[in-house]
């Protein structure tokens, strides 16, 4: 069962001589929640961008299910089942909340290029969309224009949309950022729930979230892996404490 779903070999990226990520070897096991943490500017988002090909790696290889996907286009990677969310909220502001989720579900129908087909053909997706909205507590906003949602709710919507893709591997970039405590708890619980049957790789600064659900943690610093292991192992590593967590008091924030 502990099969590797995502593997990077010597992944690196430099911007005009500044190397943001260097020689990262990740090994994400199927069915786990894997957290990527590290100080600001360590290269976490950049890693995500490389994995989803929003950035072109300067070096290294990416293997998904043993398959080399290093040279594939972003949308192709998405269709393989690797779906990401963004650090700064990414929704479709002028679509309704329901439509937001439906856009993601729609790909499953295989009719995305059918410009001659009626839009009503999408209504079959409504039920599933509402279900997903319910999961993130947004069912009451289904017909609201997304623009009008508060920040935290937009984040929740983003997770629902990502879930709609039925991803094999979900990449979440700071999913709880900007959320109220209630929401954080709900989303944490949500992630935990949806993690069953899929794999999650997440960046998160909220140690409460990380400690409660992450099976395995990789700590990046200055673009390189500093430590790896369970929360317990990592949080007791003095290097990590110094570079990232601060005093243990802080870790419990």
């Amino acid at each position: 069962m502990q099969e590797t779903i995502l593997k990077t070999i010597g992944l690196g990226k430099s911007f005009k001589g500044f190397s943001a990520v260097s020689d990262v070897n990740l090994d994400v096991s199927r069915g786990t929640i894997h957290a990527l943490i590290g100080p600001n500017g360590a290269g976490k988002t950049t890693c995500f961008n490389l994995l989803t090909k929003f950035l072109e790696p300067s070096s290294g290889q990416i293997l998904f299910n043993g398959l080399d996907i290093t040279n594939e286009a972003p949308s192709q990677i998405a269709r393989r089942g690797i779906i990401r969310s963004f650090q700064i909220s990414a929704v479709f502001p002028h679509l309704t909340v329901l439509e937001n989720v439906r856009v993601a579900l729609q790909r499953g129908l295989g009719t995305e290029f059918h410009f001659w087909k009626s839009g009503d053909s999408l209504h079959v997706l409504n039920e599933r969309a509402l279900e997903l909205l319910h999961e993130v507590g947004l069912e009451g906003f289904a017909n609201e224009e997304t623009l009008n949602l508060a920040y935290g709710r937009k984040r929740a919507l983003e997770i629902a949309t990502t879930l709609a893709m039925e991803p094999e591997l979900m990449l979440l970039d700071e999913p709880t950022q900007g959320m109220g405590h209630e929401d954080v708890e709900r989303v944490t619980e949500l992630i935990h729930r949806v993690a069953r049957g899929r794999t999650i790789l997440m960046v998160e600064h909220n140690m409460k979230v990380v400690s409660s659900i992450a099976d395995r943690i990789t700590v990046l610093q200055r673009g390189a892996v500093l430590a790896e292991g369970s929360y317990h192992e990592v949080s007791s590593n003095p290097l990590v404490v110094e570079a990232y967590m601060g005093s243990h008091e802080g870790a419990k924030l």
């Binding site: 949308s75 192709q76 002028h94 679509l95 856009v103 729609q106 995305e112 410009f115 009626s118 893709m165």
Partner: protein
């Protein structure tokens, strides 16, 4: 579509059908409006629903006009064949220009399309078969399917109307189709659409080609209605005009471009007698529209009804 809208469309179609039975509106004028309305609708598909401002749509309109005019006049093709080939031609050109242009965004997209269409213009001036600045004149309207003689203005009118309705329905359908939903999503947030697995460039290209082909359809029809294809059809002024029509009518609304086309063509026609004042008057209309009726005529009406409800 709700009941009221359906009723409105029904009434409009009925009026259009009855148009030949009156004297007040000149039929050729009505045909011109329909051609440009189709052109503007096709353009709106790109601007209003994909968020791409093309400043070179005259290239498609004109290319199809030239192809149809040439085939019908010099090669003796039947009108339906001439039109089909014209549309295919502009669709193909749309594919080429589109593939180059969609790689860029915003104002750059506009400028690339402008540049490429300037090259088409250059070709139209230079190539022998276009007849230079005289254009291709005296294009025969021919007989449709070997049955209907299009020389008759009424027959031609119904033909144009049928083609327009076909194009209009297609666009309306496309906008609300699954494809249209994805386009809307792309316009709203492109990176997110990519991350959901949509090959954004293919969608943009597709809508570009559809828009180009339908613009070509309008151009082909125009060349038959007026029986000529000239440089005006490929000039950047034409590209500008279609932008104006769309905006005046209300971009992103279904009926807006039709209304806009009616207004612009009507202005051209009825202001034609006042010479330089017509330029000034047109200028004022734009300024006032932008400052006061930004949503365009149809957009304003829609907004008014929305605010009332």
């Amino acid at each position: 579509m709700n009941q009221k809208t359906k009723l409105l469309y029904g009434i409009l179609v009925l009026i259009a059908l009855l148009l030949p039975f009156q004297d007040f509106i000149y039929l050729v004028f009505a045909m011109k409006v329909l051609c440009f309305a189709l052109f503007a609708c096709a353009f709106n598909l790109l601007l209003g629903f994909t968020g791409l401002l093309s400043f070179g749509h005259a290239a498609f309109f004109g290319t199809a006009a030239y192809i149809t005019a040439y085939l019908c006049k010099e090669a003796g093709f039947s009108p339906e064949l001439g039109i089909v080939l014209g549309v295919l031609g502009s669709g193909a050109l749309g594919f080429i220009i589109g593939s180059l242009a969609i790689r860029r965004q915003g104002i750059y997209f506009a400028m690339v399309t402008l540049a490429l269409s300037q090259m088409i213009y250059f070709l139209a001036v230079q190539m022998p078969f276009t007849g230079g600045e005289d254009g291709i004149q005296g294009v025969p309207r021919g007989t449709l399917f070997g049955l209907i003689d299009l020389k008759n203005d009424v027959a031609m009118y119904y033909f144009v109307l049928a083609v327009f309705l076909f194009g209009f329905a297609l666009i309306m359908r496309a906008v609300n189709s699954p494809f249209g939903q994805v386009l809307k999503a792309i316009r709203e947030n492109e990176p997110r659409a990519i991350s959901l697995g949509y090959d954004v460039d293919r969608f943009k290209l597709m809508s570009f080609v559809i828009s180009a082909a339908l613009s070509g359809l309008a151009g082909s029809m125009k060349s038959l209605v007026f029986q000529l294809a000239t440089l005006t059809d490929v000039h950047w002024h034409m590209s500008g005009e279609v932008v104006l029509m769309t905006l005046l009518g209300g971009m992103g609304t279904i009926l807006g471009p039709v209304v806009g086309a009616g207004i612009v063509v009507g202005l051209q026609n009825y202001l034609a007698n006042i010479g330089s004042w017509s330029t000034i008057a047109t200028g004022f209309i734009f300024v006032i529209c932008v400052l006061a009726f930004r949503r365009g005529v149809v957009g304003e009406i829609v907004a008014y009804y929305k605010s009332k409800n």
